[in-house]
Subunit: 348 residues, 2 copies
């Protein structure tokens, strides 16, 4: 019956301090220690202080696992960043990483712990594992990708989940995201206002977020009597080599354009690099607008005109939406305002 003292390499160190030890040293029962450390008014102040100091001096902290089990509670949220199984891509896009940072801040503020996992984007149902196993009480997923159906399934079985992405038809889960149509429109109108007429679109339109940005792009063009030509849409990944590939494709198609709207800053920056290698001047020959407004967008050269996604606000909204969901409240999808930040890469 006895529980093994040390199971495997991953076991805790031997004699770990526990409540019974504090109780013995303080000459009281564990019940009193528990009450004291939880600041129950039932316990005598003097006793409480004695116990608190004893615990502090021994660096004793209540075992959260046991406490959670007994209390049927848990203050851990799972944050999941899917990865592309094909490329086994490392977690490197500055935008995703910033979002992770923002969530860390927002969750810390609310007194929640953050458990970070990566899951294969093709097996998104695995995202619910930490929930099913009681490790976390809810999940924030950074990156909707093309897995609408799998996400709907998770929501259908009542996994509390909030996704950074766009709202789609027949959607059962809650998304928080930027207003991508408006964002695409802002970027494109800005380029048109700068006198550009042949605007290429860089981004994989199979992704819902990108599709909506394209929609905004097409709307803006149409409004100015410019038809969006399909050959001006160049699909490319969000990987660091995306810009180079897109510019290659542009050249291959013999496209004659005077502006590019790139669907992420990483893409915009790497594209600018590839364009310059071809001897093109930014913005004189080609204006470039990015998306996200990552930290470095302001400092690259030329400073990048881009559509800002409010990352800090996003973190707070995602957390707030998830907590509402967990409390059983409705948590409708939200769109956050985006804003055009004009810098030199698109100067007239």
């Amino acid at each position: 019956m006895s529980v093994p003292r040390k199971k495997d390499a991953a076991a805790g160190p031997p004699g770990r301090l526990q409540m019974a030890d504090i109780a013995r040293l303080a000459g009281v029962s564990t019940a009193t220690v528990s009450r004291a450390l939880n600041r129950s008014p039932l316990v005598n102040d003097e006793t409480r202080i004695r116990i608190e100091e004893l615990a502090r001096s021994l660096n004793y902290s209540i075992n959260v696992g046991a406490q959670n089990l007994r209390l049927q509670q848990n203050r851990t949220i799972g944050v999941i960043v899917p990865y592309d199984s094909a490329t086994r891509q490392h977690l490197s896009d500055p935008f995703f990483l910033s979002m992770l940072g923002s969530l860390a801040d927002a969750l810390t503020d609310q007194g929640f712990d953050m458990l970070v996992s990566r899951v294969d984007a093709e097996q998104l149902d695995a995202a619910a594992k930490p929930f099913d196993s009681g490790r976390v009480i809810g999940i924030i997923l950074i990156g909707q990708w093309r897995h609408h159906d799998q996400l709907n399934q998770l929501a259908a079985r009542n996994v509390p989940i909030v996704v950074w992405g766009v709202q789609l038809p027949r959607q059962l889960y809650c998304t928080i995201g930027g207003d991508n149509v408006a964002g695409g429109r802002l970027a494109t109108e800005h380029l048109i206002a700068g006198g550009r007429r042949h605007i290429a679109f860089f981004g994989d339109v199979r992704l819902p977020e990108v599709a909506q940005r394209y929609e905004g792009y097409a709307m803006a063009l149409a409004q100015h009597g410019l038809a969006p030509a399909p050959e001006f849409q160049i699909s490319t990944s969000f990987l660091p080599q995306g810009g180079t590939e897109a510019v290659q494709e542009m050249t291959r198609r013999g496209l004659d354009c005077d502006a590019i709207f790139a669907c992420s800053d990483l893409l915009a920056i790497t594209s600018i690099h590839a364009l310059r290698e071809r001897g093109l001047r930014i913005p004189q020959d080609i204006a470039v607008v990015g998306y996200d407004d990552i930290e470095l967008a302001a400092y690259c050269d030329p400073p990048l005109t881009t559509v800002r996604q409010p990352i800090q606000a996003a973190g707070h909204r995602l957390v707030a939406a998830l907590l509402a969901l967990i409390e059983g409240q409705p948590s409708p999808s939200q769109q956050l305002d985006t804003e055009l930040v004009c810098r030199a890469s698109s100067a007239v």
Copy 2:
């Protein structure tokens, strides 16, 4: 005695499935379910398969908290990113974020979960809380800052901890870090080889990592008969505005320099921006070398010459070192090789 079904907002949803439910539905005891789901050879294959399928169809997963409690085990590692209490700075430096991504990858590979916390750098002893409370079995700290003594205290009380940083005298904890002296030297020698003679150093030398890079810088200068003048060392933070501030200070001091060695890429990139605003050309008037080789270093303009820190390797080493420590093995501090990546920002 009865345990409350729902304690507060942070409680799990009501009727959560548990092993007893599966046992009842399968017509066996919980012991058999436990054995089946843990693939014990003791259980009949046919029974096992039936139970596995039942569990899968109901999305049941063993409650990890209860399992850990019973097994005295835990496969969660804490990753802590200290923040500066003065600025309450958000988690935004691309280097730290990349390291977080790398650790997420390394820990996932090893089957460990990653619990991310932020703690006030002035209260680093709080970093041990998740360990003391049994949430994690070890801690990886990204950022040594100036808290050598606090880290020593943690190590002295046997908190398994590995720190990204440099090895210092009388150090009780394990650090993994780049070879900062060599890195500083590489950068400086490269600039000297390019004919630069008045090389400014941007970075807060109170931080051990920066101090070692400065040491390498001074060594390289001395070797070429150039004395490192104190006014060429400009202290500045790792915040995004660091570059601007450093360049201002440079101007204020009336420094006439032909090169800058900046202690992070973020600093280098923002410095280049500030220099250009003053009409200086990079690299013709001033060559710039950064540190870290973050993703964007290759794509900024001009592409940044920088000292590469092997982030992916660092993640794996940090994890391996911590696991060794946890298993009671000695885990000596390590220095990882750094490498100079030459790009246009320092071209001759």
